[in-house]
Symmetry: C2
Subunit: 225 residues, 2 copies
Protein backbone atom coordinates (compact mmCIF):
# COMPACT_ATOMS: atom_id res chain seq x y z
CA UNK A 1 0.00 0.00 0.00
CA UNK A 2 2.89 2.36 0.57
CA UNK A 3 5.18 1.15 -2.20
CA UNK A 4 4.37 3.71 -4.84
CA UNK A 5 5.94 3.72 -8.26
CA UNK A 6 5.08 7.37 -8.80
CA UNK A 7 7.24 9.51 -6.50
CA UNK A 8 4.73 12.36 -6.61
CA UNK A 9 1.98 10.11 -5.35
CA UNK A 10 4.33 8.71 -2.72
CA UNK A 11 4.96 12.25 -1.53
CA UNK A 12 1.22 12.99 -1.44
CA UNK A 13 0.73 9.79 0.51
CA UNK A 14 3.12 11.03 3.18
CA UNK A 15 1.58 14.49 3.35
CA UNK A 16 -1.88 12.95 3.51
CA UNK A 17 -0.72 11.05 6.57
CA UNK A 18 0.17 14.32 8.24
CA UNK A 19 -3.21 15.77 7.30
CA UNK A 20 -5.07 12.75 8.66
CA UNK A 21 -3.19 13.14 11.92
CA UNK A 22 -4.76 16.59 12.18
CA UNK A 23 -8.14 15.17 11.26
CA UNK A 24 -9.66 14.57 14.65
CA UNK A 25 -10.95 17.18 17.10
CA UNK A 26 -9.31 15.54 20.09
CA UNK A 27 -5.95 15.56 18.37
CA UNK A 28 -6.27 19.26 17.54
CA UNK A 29 -7.14 19.85 21.19
CA UNK A 30 -4.12 17.78 22.24
CA UNK A 31 -1.91 19.80 19.90
CA UNK A 32 -3.15 23.02 21.46
CA UNK A 33 -2.36 21.69 24.94
CA UNK A 34 1.06 20.37 23.97
CA UNK A 35 1.73 23.74 22.35
CA UNK A 36 1.53 25.45 25.75
CA UNK A 37 4.50 23.57 27.17
CA UNK A 38 6.13 20.17 27.35
CA UNK A 39 3.43 18.06 29.02
CA UNK A 40 2.99 14.55 30.38
CA UNK A 41 0.39 12.20 28.94
CA UNK A 42 -1.59 12.14 32.16
CA UNK A 43 -2.01 15.93 32.21
CA UNK A 44 -2.95 16.01 28.55
CA UNK A 45 -5.59 13.33 29.11
CA UNK A 46 -7.03 15.22 32.07
CA UNK A 47 -7.17 18.58 30.27
CA UNK A 48 -8.62 17.11 27.10
CA UNK A 49 -11.12 15.06 29.15
CA UNK A 50 -10.21 11.76 27.52
CA UNK A 51 -8.81 8.51 28.88
CA UNK A 52 -5.07 8.11 29.25
CA UNK A 53 -4.91 5.19 26.83
CA UNK A 54 -6.78 7.27 24.29
CA UNK A 55 -4.50 10.25 24.80
CA UNK A 56 -1.47 8.01 24.41
CA UNK A 57 -2.78 6.66 21.13
CA UNK A 58 -3.53 10.12 19.78
CA UNK A 59 -0.08 11.33 20.80
CA UNK A 60 1.60 8.44 19.06
CA UNK A 61 -0.27 9.21 15.91
CA UNK A 62 0.82 12.84 16.13
CA UNK A 63 4.40 11.74 16.70
CA UNK A 64 4.36 9.48 13.66
CA UNK A 65 3.17 12.42 11.61
CA UNK A 66 6.09 14.53 12.79
CA UNK A 67 3.87 16.98 14.65
CA UNK A 68 5.10 16.30 18.19
CA UNK A 69 8.19 14.79 19.77
CA UNK A 70 8.55 13.04 23.10
CA UNK A 71 11.22 12.32 25.65
CA UNK A 72 11.21 10.28 28.79
CA UNK A 73 11.86 11.89 32.13
CA UNK A 74 11.64 9.51 35.07
CA UNK A 75 8.37 7.66 34.83
CA UNK A 76 6.79 10.35 32.73
CA UNK A 77 6.84 10.80 28.99
CA UNK A 78 6.83 14.47 28.05
CA UNK A 79 5.43 15.58 24.71
CA UNK A 80 5.91 18.89 22.95
CA UNK A 81 5.37 20.34 19.49
CA UNK A 82 8.01 19.17 17.02
CA UNK A 83 8.39 22.64 15.64
CA UNK A 84 7.05 26.16 15.64
CA UNK A 85 6.00 25.51 12.05
CA UNK A 86 3.24 23.29 13.44
CA UNK A 87 1.67 26.49 14.71
CA UNK A 88 1.83 27.91 11.18
CA UNK A 89 0.08 24.84 9.86
CA UNK A 90 -2.66 25.17 12.46
CA UNK A 91 -2.98 28.87 11.67
CA UNK A 92 -3.37 28.07 7.97
CA UNK A 93 -6.06 25.52 8.81
CA UNK A 94 -7.89 28.11 10.91
CA UNK A 95 -7.61 30.62 8.13
CA UNK A 96 -9.29 28.32 5.63
CA UNK A 97 -12.05 27.58 8.11
CA UNK A 98 -12.72 31.23 8.84
CA UNK A 99 -12.71 32.21 5.20
CA UNK A 100 -14.56 29.38 3.56
CA UNK A 101 -16.69 27.43 6.01
CA UNK A 102 -20.15 28.72 6.80
CA UNK A 103 -20.30 26.59 9.95
CA UNK A 104 -17.16 28.18 11.30
CA UNK A 105 -18.37 31.67 10.48
CA UNK A 106 -21.62 30.97 12.22
CA UNK A 107 -19.82 29.58 15.24
CA UNK A 108 -17.72 32.71 15.47
CA UNK A 109 -20.79 34.90 15.10
CA UNK A 110 -23.00 33.05 17.51
CA UNK A 111 -20.52 32.33 20.24
CA UNK A 112 -17.23 34.17 20.07
CA UNK A 113 -18.22 37.50 18.63
CA UNK A 114 -21.17 37.78 20.95
CA UNK A 115 -18.83 37.47 23.89
CA UNK A 116 -16.41 40.02 22.60
CA UNK A 117 -17.91 42.68 20.42
CA UNK A 118 -14.70 44.72 20.52
CA UNK A 119 -11.65 44.09 18.40
CA UNK A 120 -8.96 41.90 19.92
CA UNK A 121 -5.56 43.42 20.65
CA UNK A 122 -2.69 42.43 18.36
CA UNK A 123 0.63 41.16 19.67
CA UNK A 124 2.49 44.27 18.56
CA UNK A 125 -0.10 46.56 20.16
CA UNK A 126 0.00 44.66 23.44
CA UNK A 127 3.82 44.77 23.45
CA UNK A 128 3.65 48.54 23.07
CA UNK A 129 1.15 48.93 25.90
CA UNK A 130 3.30 46.70 28.11
CA UNK A 131 6.33 48.91 27.44
CA UNK A 132 4.34 51.99 28.39
CA UNK A 133 2.93 50.23 31.49
CA UNK A 134 -0.61 51.02 30.36
CA UNK A 135 -1.98 47.56 30.84
CA UNK A 136 -2.49 44.65 33.21
CA UNK A 137 -1.80 41.40 31.37
CA UNK A 138 -3.99 38.55 32.60
CA UNK A 139 -3.20 34.88 31.95
CA UNK A 140 -6.32 32.78 32.52
CA UNK A 141 -4.76 29.36 31.90
CA UNK A 142 -3.95 26.83 34.63
CA UNK A 143 -1.19 27.39 37.15
CA UNK A 144 0.97 24.71 35.57
CA UNK A 145 0.66 26.19 32.11
CA UNK A 146 1.45 29.63 33.50
CA UNK A 147 4.47 28.33 35.40
CA UNK A 148 5.93 26.80 32.25
CA UNK A 149 5.93 30.14 30.49
CA UNK A 150 3.89 33.32 30.18
CA UNK A 151 3.89 36.88 28.91
CA UNK A 152 6.23 39.27 30.77
CA UNK A 153 4.62 40.67 33.90
CA UNK A 154 1.41 38.71 33.46
CA UNK A 155 -0.85 37.92 36.41
CA UNK A 156 -2.21 34.37 36.54
CA UNK A 157 -5.81 33.79 37.56
CA UNK A 158 -7.31 30.61 36.09
CA UNK A 159 -10.68 31.49 34.63
CA UNK A 160 -12.67 29.37 37.07
CA UNK A 161 -11.18 31.34 39.98
CA UNK A 162 -11.63 34.73 38.39
CA UNK A 163 -14.92 35.58 40.04
CA UNK A 164 -13.57 35.37 43.58
CA UNK A 165 -10.14 36.86 42.85
CA UNK A 166 -11.20 40.04 41.08
CA UNK A 167 -9.63 42.09 43.85
CA UNK A 168 -6.16 41.07 42.64
CA UNK A 169 -6.66 43.13 39.50
CA UNK A 170 -6.07 46.90 39.66
CA UNK A 171 -9.01 48.92 38.41
CA UNK A 172 -6.76 51.81 37.51
CA UNK A 173 -5.88 50.52 34.04
CA UNK A 174 -7.16 48.31 31.27
CA UNK A 175 -6.81 44.51 31.34
CA UNK A 176 -5.77 42.35 28.38
CA UNK A 177 -6.53 38.66 28.85
CA UNK A 178 -5.09 35.74 26.92
CA UNK A 179 -5.09 31.95 27.07
CA UNK A 180 -4.15 29.00 24.91
CA UNK A 181 -4.86 30.25 21.44
CA UNK A 182 -7.16 32.01 19.02
CA UNK A 183 -10.39 30.21 19.89
CA UNK A 184 -9.67 29.21 23.44
CA UNK A 185 -12.87 30.02 25.29
CA UNK A 186 -11.15 31.02 28.54
CA UNK A 187 -10.15 34.49 27.45
CA UNK A 188 -13.61 35.21 26.00
CA UNK A 189 -15.16 34.07 29.24
CA UNK A 190 -12.76 36.21 31.25
CA UNK A 191 -13.31 39.34 29.20
CA UNK A 192 -17.08 38.96 29.46
CA UNK A 193 -16.88 38.61 33.23
CA UNK A 194 -14.50 41.51 33.64
CA UNK A 195 -16.60 43.87 31.53
CA UNK A 196 -19.71 43.01 33.49
CA UNK A 197 -17.83 44.02 36.61
CA UNK A 198 -16.86 47.37 35.18
CA UNK A 199 -13.34 46.63 33.99
CA UNK A 200 -12.01 47.91 30.68
CA UNK A 201 -11.09 44.48 29.35
CA UNK A 202 -9.79 43.22 26.01
CA UNK A 203 -8.60 39.96 24.56
CA UNK A 204 -5.24 39.21 22.94
CA UNK A 205 -5.88 38.06 19.37
CA UNK A 206 -4.16 34.73 19.93
CA UNK A 207 -2.47 32.82 22.73
CA UNK A 208 0.80 32.17 24.47
CA UNK A 209 2.28 29.73 21.91
CA UNK A 210 1.90 32.21 19.06
CA UNK A 211 3.39 35.00 21.15
CA UNK A 212 6.41 32.90 21.98
CA UNK A 213 6.81 31.61 18.42
CA UNK A 214 6.82 35.21 17.18
CA UNK A 215 10.02 35.67 19.14
CA UNK A 216 8.53 38.02 21.74
CA UNK A 217 9.81 38.09 25.32
CA UNK A 218 8.46 35.50 27.76
CA UNK A 219 8.98 34.69 31.43
CA UNK A 220 8.83 31.39 33.22
CA UNK A 221 8.75 30.25 36.83
CA UNK A 222 10.86 27.23 36.04
CA UNK A 223 8.06 24.70 35.75
CA UNK A 224 8.55 21.37 33.98
CA UNK A 225 11.96 21.46 32.29
Amino acid sequence: MSSQINPSLAMFEQLAKVARALGHPHRLMVLQLVGQSETAVEDIAARAAISMANASQHLQRLRQAGLVTSRKQGQKVLYRLADDTVLSLLAALRDIGERNLADVQQLIQSYFRQRDSLEPVSRAELARRIRHRQVTVLDVRSEQEFAAGHLPGAINIPVNELRRRLNELPRSQQVVAYCRGAYCVFSYEAVAQLRSRGFEAYRLEDGYPEWKAAGMAVESDGGPV
Copy 2:
Protein backbone atom coordinates in the same frame (compact mmCIF):
# COMPACT_ATOMS: atom_id res chain seq x y z
CA MET B 1 -22.26 14.16 16.32
CA SER B 2 -21.89 17.83 15.46
CA SER B 3 -23.90 19.35 18.29
CA GLN B 4 -21.10 20.21 20.64
CA ILE B 5 -21.66 21.97 23.91
CA ASN B 6 -18.09 23.18 24.06
CA PRO B 7 -17.56 25.80 21.35
CA SER B 8 -13.82 25.14 21.30
CA LEU B 9 -14.41 21.49 20.51
CA ALA B 10 -17.01 22.46 17.93
CA MET B 11 -14.39 24.65 16.26
CA PHE B 12 -11.85 21.83 16.34
CA GLU B 13 -14.46 19.55 14.84
CA GLN B 14 -14.80 21.89 11.88
CA LEU B 15 -11.08 22.30 11.39
CA ALA B 16 -10.61 18.53 11.66
CA LYS B 17 -13.05 18.20 8.79
CA VAL B 18 -10.83 20.40 6.67
CA ALA B 19 -7.78 18.37 7.67
CA ARG B 20 -9.48 15.09 6.82
CA ALA B 21 -10.34 16.49 3.41
CA LEU B 22 -6.59 16.90 2.85
CA GLY B 23 -6.00 13.40 4.18
CA HIS B 24 -5.97 11.39 0.98
CA PRO B 25 -3.23 11.30 -1.67
CA HIS B 26 -5.70 11.50 -4.54
CA ARG B 27 -7.31 14.58 -3.07
CA LEU B 28 -3.93 16.28 -2.69
CA MET B 29 -3.24 15.38 -6.30
CA VAL B 30 -6.64 16.75 -7.31
CA LEU B 31 -5.91 19.96 -5.41
CA GLN B 32 -2.65 20.36 -7.28
CA LEU B 33 -4.45 19.92 -10.59
CA VAL B 34 -7.27 22.26 -9.71
CA GLY B 35 -4.65 24.77 -8.60
CA GLN B 36 -3.34 25.04 -12.16
CA SER B 37 -6.59 26.42 -13.53
CA GLU B 38 -10.33 26.03 -13.41
CA THR B 39 -10.84 22.46 -14.59
CA ALA B 40 -13.70 20.09 -15.44
CA VAL B 41 -14.23 16.85 -13.54
CA GLU B 42 -13.44 14.75 -16.59
CA ASP B 43 -10.03 16.33 -17.08
CA ILE B 44 -9.20 16.04 -13.40
CA ALA B 45 -10.13 12.37 -13.42
CA ALA B 46 -7.98 11.73 -16.49
CA ARG B 47 -4.93 13.56 -15.13
CA ALA B 48 -5.18 11.98 -11.70
CA ALA B 49 -5.76 8.57 -13.28
CA ILE B 50 -8.92 7.85 -11.32
CA SER B 51 -12.52 7.19 -12.35
CA MET B 52 -14.82 10.10 -12.93
CA ALA B 53 -17.24 9.06 -10.20
CA ASN B 54 -14.34 8.88 -7.80
CA ALA B 55 -13.00 12.28 -8.86
CA SER B 56 -16.48 13.74 -8.43
CA GLN B 57 -16.70 12.36 -4.91
CA HIS B 58 -13.28 13.69 -3.95
CA LEU B 59 -14.14 17.10 -5.37
CA GLN B 60 -17.34 17.26 -3.41
CA ARG B 61 -15.50 16.47 -0.25
CA LEU B 62 -12.97 19.22 -0.99
CA ARG B 63 -15.82 21.62 -1.65
CA GLN B 64 -17.52 20.82 1.63
CA ALA B 65 -14.25 21.57 3.37
CA GLY B 66 -14.05 24.99 1.73
CA LEU B 67 -10.94 24.10 -0.27
CA VAL B 68 -12.42 24.36 -3.77
CA THR B 69 -15.43 26.01 -5.37
CA SER B 70 -17.35 24.99 -8.45
CA ARG B 71 -19.53 26.54 -11.08
CA LYS B 72 -21.48 25.10 -13.91
CA GLN B 73 -20.69 26.02 -17.47
CA GLY B 74 -22.84 24.27 -20.06
CA GLN B 75 -22.76 20.59 -19.31
CA LYS B 76 -19.46 20.84 -17.49
CA VAL B 77 -18.80 21.60 -13.85
CA LEU B 78 -15.60 23.61 -13.41
CA TYR B 79 -13.69 23.42 -10.16
CA ARG B 80 -10.99 25.73 -8.88
CA LEU B 81 -9.23 26.49 -5.60
CA ALA B 82 -11.41 28.44 -3.19
CA ASP B 83 -8.56 30.70 -2.28
CA ASP B 84 -4.87 31.36 -2.63
CA THR B 85 -4.61 30.59 1.08
CA VAL B 86 -5.17 26.95 0.18
CA LEU B 87 -1.71 27.08 -1.37
CA SER B 88 -0.33 28.36 1.94
CA LEU B 89 -1.96 25.48 3.74
CA LEU B 90 -0.42 22.99 1.32
CA ALA B 91 2.94 24.70 1.68
CA ALA B 92 2.73 24.41 5.46
CA LEU B 93 1.90 20.73 5.14
CA ARG B 94 4.90 20.23 2.86
CA ASP B 95 7.10 22.09 5.29
CA ILE B 96 6.17 19.79 8.17
CA GLY B 97 6.83 16.76 6.01
CA GLU B 98 10.22 17.96 4.88
CA ARG B 99 11.33 18.92 8.36
CA ASN B 100 9.97 16.12 10.47
CA LEU B 101 9.23 13.00 8.44
CA ALA B 102 12.07 10.61 7.73
CA ASP B 103 10.12 9.00 4.89
CA VAL B 104 9.74 12.33 3.14
CA GLN B 105 13.40 13.18 3.59
CA GLN B 106 14.36 9.84 2.18
CA LEU B 107 12.03 10.27 -0.76
CA ILE B 108 13.60 13.63 -1.51
CA GLN B 109 17.09 12.18 -1.21
CA SER B 110 16.47 9.06 -3.19
CA TYR B 111 14.40 10.47 -5.99
CA PHE B 112 14.26 14.23 -6.28
CA ARG B 113 17.72 15.26 -5.17
CA GLN B 114 19.32 12.62 -7.32
CA ARG B 115 17.64 14.10 -10.34
CA ASP B 116 18.64 17.61 -9.54
CA SER B 117 21.84 17.97 -7.60
CA LEU B 118 21.90 21.73 -8.19
CA GLU B 119 19.92 24.26 -6.23
CA PRO B 120 16.55 25.24 -7.67
CA VAL B 121 16.02 28.82 -8.82
CA SER B 122 13.84 31.04 -6.65
CA ARG B 123 10.93 33.05 -8.01
CA ALA B 124 12.70 36.35 -7.43
CA GLU B 125 15.88 35.13 -9.13
CA LEU B 126 13.97 33.84 -12.13
CA ALA B 127 12.10 37.14 -12.41
CA ARG B 128 15.43 38.97 -12.48
CA ARG B 129 16.86 36.68 -15.18
CA ILE B 130 13.68 37.11 -17.24
CA ARG B 131 14.04 40.88 -17.05
CA HIS B 132 17.63 40.64 -18.22
CA ARG B 133 16.66 38.17 -20.98
CA GLN B 134 19.22 35.70 -19.72
CA VAL B 135 16.96 32.69 -19.68
CA THR B 136 14.60 30.49 -21.62
CA VAL B 137 11.58 29.65 -19.44
CA LEU B 138 10.22 26.18 -20.16
CA ASP B 139 6.73 25.06 -19.11
CA VAL B 140 6.52 21.25 -19.20
CA ARG B 141 2.84 20.93 -18.28
CA SER B 142 0.08 19.97 -20.71
CA GLU B 143 -1.07 22.30 -23.47
CA GLN B 144 -4.35 22.96 -21.71
CA GLU B 145 -2.69 23.88 -18.45
CA PHE B 146 -0.28 26.13 -20.31
CA ALA B 147 -3.09 27.80 -22.25
CA ALA B 148 -4.93 28.66 -19.05
CA GLY B 149 -1.96 30.59 -17.72
CA HIS B 150 1.84 30.51 -17.67
CA LEU B 151 4.95 32.50 -16.86
CA PRO B 152 5.64 35.46 -19.14
CA GLY B 153 7.45 34.42 -22.31
CA ALA B 154 7.50 30.76 -21.41
CA ILE B 155 7.78 28.04 -24.07
CA ASN B 156 5.45 25.07 -23.66
CA ILE B 157 6.76 21.57 -24.33
CA PRO B 158 4.95 18.85 -22.36
CA VAL B 159 7.56 16.62 -20.79
CA ASN B 160 6.62 13.55 -22.81
CA GLU B 161 7.32 15.45 -26.04
CA LEU B 162 10.55 17.00 -24.86
CA ARG B 163 12.88 14.42 -26.37
CA ARG B 164 11.76 15.04 -29.94
CA ARG B 165 11.27 18.77 -29.63
CA LEU B 166 14.65 19.75 -28.20
CA ASN B 167 15.39 21.77 -31.31
CA GLU B 168 12.79 24.34 -30.22
CA LEU B 169 15.03 25.37 -27.35
CA PRO B 170 17.91 27.78 -27.99
CA ARG B 171 21.26 26.47 -26.79
CA SER B 172 22.62 29.97 -26.44
CA GLN B 173 21.30 30.50 -22.92
CA GLN B 174 20.25 28.62 -19.81
CA VAL B 175 16.84 26.98 -19.43
CA VAL B 176 14.68 27.13 -16.31
CA ALA B 177 11.89 24.54 -16.27
CA TYR B 178 8.79 24.53 -14.10
CA CYS B 179 5.57 22.57 -13.80
CA ARG B 180 2.71 22.11 -11.35
CA GLY B 181 4.43 22.60 -8.03
CA ALA B 182 7.26 21.82 -5.68
CA TYR B 183 7.36 18.06 -6.09
CA CYS B 184 5.87 17.72 -9.52
CA VAL B 185 8.09 15.18 -11.24
CA PHE B 186 7.83 16.73 -14.70
CA SER B 187 10.33 19.50 -14.13
CA TYR B 188 12.83 17.11 -12.53
CA GLU B 189 12.46 14.81 -15.48
CA ALA B 190 12.89 17.68 -17.91
CA VAL B 191 15.99 19.08 -16.22
CA ALA B 192 17.62 15.64 -16.17
CA GLN B 193 16.93 15.17 -19.86
CA LEU B 194 18.14 18.63 -20.80
CA ARG B 195 21.39 18.31 -18.86
CA SER B 196 22.14 14.98 -20.47
CA ARG B 197 21.80 16.71 -23.83
CA GLY B 198 24.25 19.41 -22.88
CA PHE B 199 21.86 22.18 -21.86
CA GLU B 200 22.48 24.37 -18.85
CA ALA B 201 19.17 23.57 -17.17
CA TYR B 202 17.67 24.46 -13.81
CA ARG B 203 14.38 23.99 -12.04
CA LEU B 204 12.12 26.66 -10.58
CA GLU B 205 11.72 25.96 -6.85
CA ASP B 206 7.95 25.65 -7.14
CA GLY B 207 5.25 25.76 -9.80
CA TYR B 208 2.86 28.00 -11.65
CA PRO B 209 0.19 28.35 -8.93
CA GLU B 210 2.71 29.63 -6.38
CA TRP B 211 4.17 32.07 -8.92
CA LYS B 212 0.75 33.46 -9.68
CA ALA B 213 -0.30 33.58 -6.02
CA ALA B 214 2.84 35.58 -5.25
CA GLY B 215 1.43 38.29 -7.49
CA MET B 216 4.01 37.91 -10.23
CA ALA B 217 3.15 38.58 -13.87
CA VAL B 218 1.47 35.81 -15.87
CA GLU B 219 0.26 35.38 -19.42
CA SER B 220 -2.60 33.37 -20.78
CA ASP B 221 -3.81 32.26 -24.19
CA GLY B 222 -7.40 32.69 -23.19
CA GLY B 223 -8.12 29.09 -22.36
CA PRO B 224 -11.13 28.08 -20.22
CA VAL B 225 -12.79 31.12 -18.64
